[in-house]
């Protein structure tokens, strides 16, 4: 930039002030993040103290948060299992199957799903999805009950961890399919045309050219979706009938609970050390999502480095 020496030789006060203000905003962001961590740690410490007696966690903090961590991971992985194939399908449909003029509008429709507040998903999940799925669960348990995960007794309300997984999958679908669509659209056109010119059908072209190119992008989309599902609160809090159990059974009313939903349900009525225990649980959730998200970012960064090959 030719302007740099000019500015350096004639520094103006307004320039310095403006630069200072905008740098300050950046510093503030760093400070906020440090503060988030610091305040959470300060408030979490009393609960982690092994001698403290916490009403919510009579057997110590680890025994309290352990089942919740299990439930958080379990429900998020369930959601990811449903959402990943669908997101890839939607991404491919919008990028390679839908008519071009229609494609951007369809993408907008999917984005609308992302705009709906999670409390509305919760209300819908409990009033529509759970009653709708309950007979399906009954059927699954009656006919496939010999498989341990489908073992009864079936919940009479349908408010099970499987319903939560399905609702969460719907909630993370928009972000995942938007990312998948982006990645698919970045496939080099020449690769696609070369595959088609060799006589490949559209699906073969996708197999040869699009999927290999998109693989790492899809992985990072899945990780970001997982991060979303881990932290989702209201839909889980409303749909699930929790029991803090550690079980892989999908259809019973004894469901593992998640960290976020436990905090939302218990916090308004908590006081004293219970509050600290919930904040400590929140800190654990923060750590888990940070690991998942940084994994996703690491994949993207590596991907960016190898993009030069094209």
């Amino acid at each position: 930039m030719t302007s740099a020496p000019l500015n350096a030789s004639r520094p103006r006060r307004a320039d310095r002030v403006f630069r200072g203000i905008s740098t300050g905003a950046g510093v503030l962001i760093l400070a906020v993040l440090v503060l988030v961590a610091a305040f959470l740690v300060i408030q979490a410490l009393p609960a982690i103290n092994p001698t403290a007696h916490i009403d919510a966690a009579p057997n110590g903090f680890a025994a309290f948060v352990g089942p919740l961590v299990f439930g958080t991971l379990f429900s998020a992985v369930l959601a990811l299992m449903f959402a990943t194939p669908l997101a890839i399908g939607i991404g491919l449909f919008i990028s390679h199957y839908a008519p071009r003029r229609l494609a951007s509008m369809l993408g907008y429709v999917i984005d609308l799903l992302a705009a709906i507040p999670s409390v509305v998903y919760g209300l819908w999940g409990i009033q529509v999805v759970a009653p709708f799925l309950q007979p399906v669960y009954q059927w699954l348990s009656d006919n496939w009950g010999f498989i341990p995960i489908f073992e009864g007794p079936v919940s009479g309300t349908g408010r099970t961890i499987l319903t939560v997984g399905i609702v969460l999958a719907i909630m993370i679908l928009p972000i995942m399919s938007a990312l998948a669509r982006e990645v698919f659209l970045q496939t080099p056109r020449l690769h696609e045309e070369a595959a088609l010119a060799l006589g490949a059908t559209r699906w073969e072209m996708i197999q040869i050219a699009v999927i290999p190119f998109a693989r790492s992008g899809l992985l990072s989309a899945a990780m970001l979706g997982l991060g979303r599902a881990l932290g989702e609160t209201m839909a889980v809090a409303m749909v699930l009938s929790p029991a803090a159990a550690v079980t892989f059974k999908l259809l019973t009313s004894e469901n593992p609970s998640t960290i976020a939903s436990t905090i939302a349900l218990d916090f308004p009525e908590s006081s004293g050390l219970d509050v600290n225990a919930l904040i400590a649980a929140g800190l654990v959730l923060f750590a888990i999502t940070m690991v998942v998200n940084s994994f996703a970012r690491a994949i993207v960064t590596r991907h960016r480095d190898t993009m030069g090959e094209n």
Binding site: T2, S3, L6, R12, A14, D15, V17, F18, R19, I21, S22, T23, G24, A25, G26, L28, I29, V32, L33, V36, F39, L40, I42, L86, I88, I90, F93, I94, V109, A115, P117, S118, V119, V120, L123, W124, Q127, V128, I170, S177, T201, R202, W203, G227, L230, G231, E232, T233, M234, M238, I263, A264, P268, G272, G282, L283, L285, F286, T289, M290
Partner: protein, 350 residues
């Protein structure tokens, strides 16, 4: 391996015929099995689509060969993945719209829940709370977010160590679960105001934590779109850098910036968890965000559902009406963002 060029391929008419026969077969099956009871239209369509798919792929396999049959099968699967995703969207919008209109009346928008047991009452206190808290969150987040993105694009140029740090931290902030943001605001304010603190302002701080990274991300993207020639032309005329940013860069990208900010507001206006934690809930009007509990619309929806009184239906109706109001607000913000980006699109010959 390649299919012979002269090999027959299924014409459009055959496909249409297969579709019609698939639907007809599905309807026949339904009519026989249902025997008297009402036929489920949705079920007929779904089964009909499955039969249509199987017929098409089978016929294609027999006449066109395996590769084209697989191609058709995958096209069908991918299209139905998209169709499947539309089902929840349609169901959700339909449910909220039909159940929400029951209490979507003038009383809902003109009264609070003070002293209301059973039917009646409204969400005015929650709407006021949502507007105030979101406004404060926006007033905190927009300057910080915008200035940070200006730093990243105009001063840091995304290269020096500090701006790389800021970018990473913005990424980390994007991943903060909303409930953790609520806990942070609670942890901070309870240090100053004692345990059990609840106030609207703390809710706004929690929302800002969620909103700032969204604003930084979208603004950064928009500022990077401003062509460097514009900046250089302005600087070459002797305009100082800060004026260049204020008079050249920002006006050029104003459409994108406003769009990004409106979408960021739409994101946080529906947040429930942090407000449940730190703004609490109340049945009365509270205009003062610095004092006591403050109701918000998402929390109103949750609270109406979770603590139903004697007349449960009245509480459910209010919950759905609140959900409808919330969705309308969010959709209007999204629509507004689209319109703004179209109206304020930078003039030019590209």
């Amino acid at each position: 391996m390649a299919s012979h060029p002269t090999r027959p391929s299924l014409s459009r008419w055959i496909i249409i015929a297969l579709f019609v026969s698939g639907m007809a077969m599905s309807y026949a099956i339904a009519a026989v099995t249902a025997s008297g009871s009402e036929v489920n239209v949705l079920g007929v369509v779904v089964v009909g689509l499955v039969i249509f798919g199987v017929l098409t792929v089978g016929l294609s396999w027999a006449t066109e060969g395996r590769r084209k049959a697989v191609n058709r099968a995958m096209a069908g699967l991918i299209t139905s993945a998209f169709g499947l995703a539309l089902i929840p969207l349609v169901s959700l919008v339909w449910t909220v719209a039909t159940l929400g209109v029951a209490r979507f009346d003038s009383q809902f928008f003109s009264s609070s829940m003070r002293n209301v047991v059973g039917a009646g009452g409204g969400a005015l206190h929650a709407i006021i709370g949502t507007l105030e808290i979101t406004l404060i969150a926006a007033l905190i987040s927009i300057p910080i977010g915008l200035l940070t993105s200006i730093y990243l694009v105009e001063y840091g140029r995304g290269r020096n160590r500090f701006s790389r740090w800021v970018t990473t931290m913005v990424d980390v902030m994007t991943g903060i679960p909303s409930i953790v943001a609520g806990l942070f605001a609670f942890a901070m304010f309870s240090l100053f105001f004692g345990p059990g603190v609840r106030m609207g302002f703390a809710g706004a701080v929690a929302l800002s934590v969620l909103m700032i990274p969204v604003v930084v991300r979208s603004s950064e993207e928009m500022l990077r779109l401003v062509p460097n020639e514009l900046r250089e032309a302005s600087l070459a005329l002797g305009v100082p850098k800060w004026l260049t940013i204020l008079r050249v860069v920002l006006p050029t990208s104003v459409g994108g910036l406003v769009t990004g900010i409106m979408i960021a507001i739409a994101r946080v206006i529906g947040e429930t968890a942090p407000l449940l934690i730190v703004a609490g809930f109340t049945q009365s009007m509270n205009y003062n965000p610095f004092n006591e509990r403050m109701m918000t619309l998402p929390v109103f929806v949750y609270n109406s559902y979770s603590s139903q009184g004697m007349d449960a239906q009245a509480y459910l109706d209010r919950a759905w009406a609140g959900a409808l109001t919330l969705i309308i607000i969010v959709m209007l913000l999204n629509l507004g963002a689209r319109i703004v980006s179209r109206v304020l699109r930078p003039a030019g010959n590209h």
